[in-house]
Structures are given as structure tokens and as C-alpha cells.
């Protein structure tokens, strides 16, 4: 058994990729966390109490996973969906009835999006009810609220893309809402012109929402998530009761 393990992990190729042996001893377990760019966003050690389910209910991590699933399923949907007003709706129908597993992918994308909005609220509530926004984590709460707003915008921009009745009238209401931003003649009218790409919902609107939905907003969201996680680490891990004894800086 250990012969096989040696063959797999104690060779030059493995070493060249990971720079350390298999993480079976404390040193390699530390190394795996800081030699790997993806794992390095987490600390080498964690508090035992942070691992308890009741500490977070894993809500933040669920959000990160939903975002990952949305990115992957969205990537696949883009191969069939064309953001053109005469095609978009037909492409959705094709995804449902003519593309293998298209309907499952579309469902996954839609349900994960709904779940992400719901879990963002739950996560925010857990952070509030555990007092986890207090110094030094104030700014991570702020990043969180921005993530909440971006999540809502992501859902909204995605909502228009199928070009069905739900989509069209939801965007109608939203664009007219933007138009009322005071002073309505300048700000409101200007903002709605920018968002719609004109004075009414049409091709310009669809392509604008599409580009924001598949690139602009996910890019911002992903970047902010990285900062969010980095700050958890820099702020000393998850909030702990003994921090109440440390006075405010």
C-alpha cells in the first residue's frame, strides 16, 4: 500500500506540480495550504468552534458553491442561447426540448440563481444575529452588502434573457422605476436611456443585459468574493466569543 502511495506521491512529477509530498504529516498539511494559490486564501489552521455546523450553517460556503455552479451552467448555456430578440425565446425552447440535457442545465441555472438570492439573505441574517460584523470585520460586512446588491442585479439581468412575458414586464417595471430617479428629466431619463440603450425595450436592451449578465456582473462578483474570503482570513478567522474582551482599536 505505501509502495503505491510512494509511487504516486513521492516522485519528481508530483513534487514538480505541488512542491510538497502528500499531506499526511503536519508539515505537508501546512504546506498544502500555503503552496497552493487556491487554498492559500484559507489559513493553515482553523478554530475548532468555527467548524461546528451551528457556527455558520455553512451558508457563506453554500453561496460560493452556488456561484460556481451558476458560472459553469451559464458557460454551457451560452453555447446555444443567442441574445437576439427574434431568437432568444426560440433558443430557450430549443434548450428545453431539442438539446440533450439542455432542460436540466437551464433548470440548474435558474434554481441555483433563486437559491443564491435566498441564501444571501440567510447568510446576512446569520452574520447579524451572531454579531459577526463588529470590528475588525466591519468592512467585510460592507463587501457583503455590495455582494447582496450585485446578486440581485445578476438575477434581474438574467431574468430578461429568455424574452418571455415574465421577463419583458419585469424589465418594463424596472426601467420605468429608474426613470423616476430625481431629477427625473435629467437623471431618470438619462439612466433609463443608458440601461435600455434607447427609449424602449428592444435589441439594445437585450444585448446590454446579456453582456452585464455573462461578463460584467459575474466578474465584479467573483473579485469581491475573493476579497471577502481574504478578509475573513486577515480578520482572524470567523468571529469568536473571546473577541468581546478585546477592546475596539
Amino acid at each position: 500500500m505505501s509502495r503505491v502511495a510512494d509511487l504516486l506521491f513521492a516522485n519528481r512529477v508530483w513534487k514538480s506540480v505541488f512542491r510538497h509530498g502528500y499531506p499526511s504529516n503536519p508539515r505537508n498539511r501546512a504546506e498544502v495550504m500555503f503552496q497552493n494559490v487556491f487554498l492559500h486564501i484559507q489559513s493553515v489552521k482553523v478554530f475548532k468552534r468555527s467548524l461546528k455546523v451551528s457556527a455558520t450553517f455553512g451558508l457563506g460556503l453554500i453561496l460560493a458553491y452556488l456561484f460556481l455552479l451558476l458560472t459553469l451552467t451559464g458557460f454551457l448555456l451560452m453555447f446555444y442561447y443567442v441574445p437576439e430578440v427574434h431568437r432568444a425565446y426560440a433558443d430557450m425552447k430549443d434548450l428545453e426540448f431539442a438539446v440533450s440535457f439542455g432542460v436540466v442545465l437551464r433548470n440548474m441555472h435558474r434554481w441555483a440563481a433563486h437559491a443564491m438570492v435566498l441564501f444571501t439573505f440567510l447568510h446576512m441574517a446569520r452574520v447579524f444575529f451572531t454579531g459577526a460584523y463588529k470590528a475588525p470585520r466591519e468592512f467585510n460586512w460592507v463587501i457583503g452588502i455590495i455582494l447582496l446588491i450585485i446578486t440581485l442585479f445578476l438575477s434581474l439581468s438574467g431574468y430578461l434573457l429568455p424574452w418571455d412575458q415574465l421577463a419583458y414586464w419585469a424589465i418594463t417595471i424596472v426601467s420605468n422605476l429608474i426613470r423616476t430617479t430625481p431629477p427625473a428629466d435629467i437623471m431618470g431619463a438619462g439612466a433609463s436611456y443608458l440601461v435600455l440603450g434607447g427609449t424602449q425595450i428592444g435589441q439594445n436592451t437585450l444585448i446590454r443585459f446579456y453582456v452585464m449578465h455573462v461578463f460584467g456582473l459575474p466578474a465584479i462578483c467573483g473579485l469581491l468574493m475573493v476579497v471577502h474570503f481574504w478578509r475573513i482570513r486577515k480578520d482572524g478567522g470567523l468571529a469568536r466569543p473571546d473577541e468581546s474582551n478585546i477592546p475596539l482599536r
Partner: protein, 173 residues
Amino acid sequence: MAEKQIDNMKSYGLMNLVKGKTPAIQKDPYEMVMSWPHLLFREVVLFLIVLTVIMGMSILFNAPLEEMADPKNTPNPAKAPWYFLGLQEALSWGPPVLGGIVFPTLLAVLLLAVPYLDRTRDGIGVWFHPKRRTVNILFAMGLTFWFGLIIVGTFLRGPSWDFYWFWEAWPVH
């Protein structure tokens, strides 16, 4: 030879200096475990759960797709996605600027300011700490109000945005 190698490998670095008590003074040492495998194992398990639930739901339930967009014909009632129905409900109460722009902007600013308004050190990392009763009740009231609006908008509004109880049937046109 092996010893020397370890000597040359720095297994720690100085990140920054902070004021505070060290864990050793008058306190139990922090109980910590290695992230690998304790944290990473849990993370992988949670991913599998999320993936399974979302996939399962997607195989069982189809996402809605209505008729093609038709500017001539507004469905009655026309509803935004559920997470915006609270706003749509607020929108039906008065001038749109208030319900649609001022109200959500105030809400966002208030939320952003939370950690700067509450500067106390009570109950960090504790669920529903008794010393935080007031703020917790305030926040819970806010959440109830928000989700209450969503529930009214989702379930209690029928054609022409008229009010109907759960058990009342909508008139058919």
C-alpha cells in the same frame, strides 16, 4: 541532512503586529486544528450536498417559461421575480420615487452603515446574545417587514394588484 533541510524551510512568516492579549495569558490556549483535512473535508462534503440538491431539483422541477414577450399584452397580474415583489408591493402604495428609489436606497445605506452604527463589543460570535436583544429584535423586525412585503406581493395580490386572501379565488376574466 534532513535536519538541515528543515532548518532552511521557513514554515511561518511575520504578517503584522497587533495589540492584544496573547492566548496564553489567563486563558485556555485556542483550540485549533489543521485546515487539511478537517476544513477541506467538510468543504468537499458541502459541495456534494449543494450539487446533489440543485441537480435533484432540476431533474424534478422545470423552471418557468411563459409565452414569448408581447408588448401589447400585459399579463394580469404582472409580477416581478419573488425577491423584487416586496419592492413592487411598496411601489403600489404611493409615488414611485418613494417606493422604488428612496425606500430601497435608504435600506441599502442603512445596511451598509450597520457596523459603523453599532460600535459595541457585545456578543461577538454568539447566536442571539442577551446583551444584543434590542438590535436583534430591530433587525428581526426589519427582516419580517421585508419578507412580509414579499409574501403579500407574491400570494395576496391578484388581478389589477387587488388584495385577495390565500383562500379567495381570483376572478376569471
